[in-house]
């Protein structure tokens, strides 16, 4: 049965019927869900998030043609493994931004450009996205980030230096900052 299902995923992909391919991968924080479309990585689900809910959400918002197809996500997994090992300071992956829109997407695109090991504030991100007063909206854009880790919303802090929030929980945010900046 396993071989049949693998063949099915390959044929579906070849025939253009695989709209969302996903797999799960291990990380130091627990299992991550990775999902991509033909355009690129569309969703990273953190260990704290419910896998079935994430998949149902993808089915509703992207396409119900959601299949488990690990083969297509090898490169994403490889880069994440390197990142967690402290051996990769820039992801080089095509991204599909379709799960965020407007101001939120502008905030997230700005976050994607924050260099490894550095941090910015919610206010700076609001300004970059074109509205310096929309600090709260910038915060909620971070909170709704569909592609965490690769779009490094963990690098955004409060102006006071406080951690702010994180979808994967504050200990994870802290650990990621520590990973990227062991000196501090």
């Amino acid at each position: 049965m396993k071989a049949s299902l693998q063949r099915l995923a390959e044929r579906a992909s070849k025939e253009g019927l695989l709209d969302v391919a996903y797999t799960t991968t291990d990380s130091p924080f627990g299992p991550l869900l990775l999902a991509k479309t033909r355009r690129g990585l569309v969703r990273v689900g953190l260990p704290s998030q419910d896998r079935d809910e994430l998949l149902a959400d993808l089915a509703g918002r992207v396409s119900p043609r959601v299949l488990e197809a690990p083969a297509g996500l090898d490169e994403v997994r490889r880069e994440l493994d390197l990142y967690f090992a402290g051996k990769l300071d820039r992801f080089d992956l095509p991204l599909d931004w379709q799960l965020s829109h407007g101001f939120r997407q502008r905030v997230l695109r700005a976050i994607a450009r924050i260099p490894y090991g550095q941090t910015r504030t919610y206010t700076e991100m609001a300004t970059k996205a074109g509205n310096e007063r929309a600090v709260r909206a910038a915060g909620s854009a971070c909170g709704s980030n569909p592609i965490p880790l690769v779009v490094p919303c963990h690098r955004v802090l409060r102006t006071s230096g406080a951690l702010g929030g994180y979808g994967g929980g504050l200990p994870m945010k802290e650990a990621l900052l520590e990973l990227e900046n062991p000196e501090n």
Binding site: S4, A56, A59, P64, V66
Partner: protein, 153 residues
């Protein structure tokens, strides 16, 4: 917004059943191909599916259609013969339309007829494949045959 579950759910929940039905309907040899065709056809049609309440039934129906296609492709390939018999046939076999007529039966009857005559399954196994009692399988088969007699006559 779509209410349909991720397609993978259908695979997780029903792939084993679909494979079992196909093994029953076309045998082990043809089941793998029919399985692929079934799920690819389902995947193709899935986003436009109006009613997501009986996904198992929907998949099994597609599987039966693929099984019928399989039998049709195998059974109706012309066989080379050395001598044509010169016997007048008074009661000809029903034409090639018989499988078309089978295909037009309601799903339960269609499944029962295919499993009985194409796969030669006994009632108990038909019942198992369809997930109903042997009595219900026998009834579906009986109704299906009755209807086919009427269609083809």
């Amino acid at each position: 917004m779509s209410e349909l579950p991720p397609f993978q759910t259908l695979i997780d929940e029903h792939a084993t059943d679909v494979m079992a039905v196909l093994r029953g309907a076309v045998g082990r040899g043809g089941a793998e191909d029919c399985f692929q065709e079934t799920f690819l056809a389902a995947l193709r049609a899935y986003p436009k599916l109006k009613d997501g309440r009986n996904l198992r039934g929907w998949l099994i129906t597609i599987a039966h259609r693929k099984a019928i296609d399989h039998h049709r492709a195998n059974g109706r390939a012309p066989l080379p013969v050395a001598d044509l018999p010169e016997v007048a046939v008074t009661d000809p076999e029903p034409g090639g339309d018989v499988w078309a007529a089978v295909g037009a039966l309601p799903p339960k009857q269609r499944a029962a007829v295919t499993l009985r005559f194409a796969s030669d399954l006994p009632h108990a196994e038909i019942a198992a494949a369809l997930g109903c009692s042997p009595e219900a399988a026998r009834r579906s088969l009986h109704e299906g045959i009755k209807r086919l007699r009427k269609e083809i006559a």
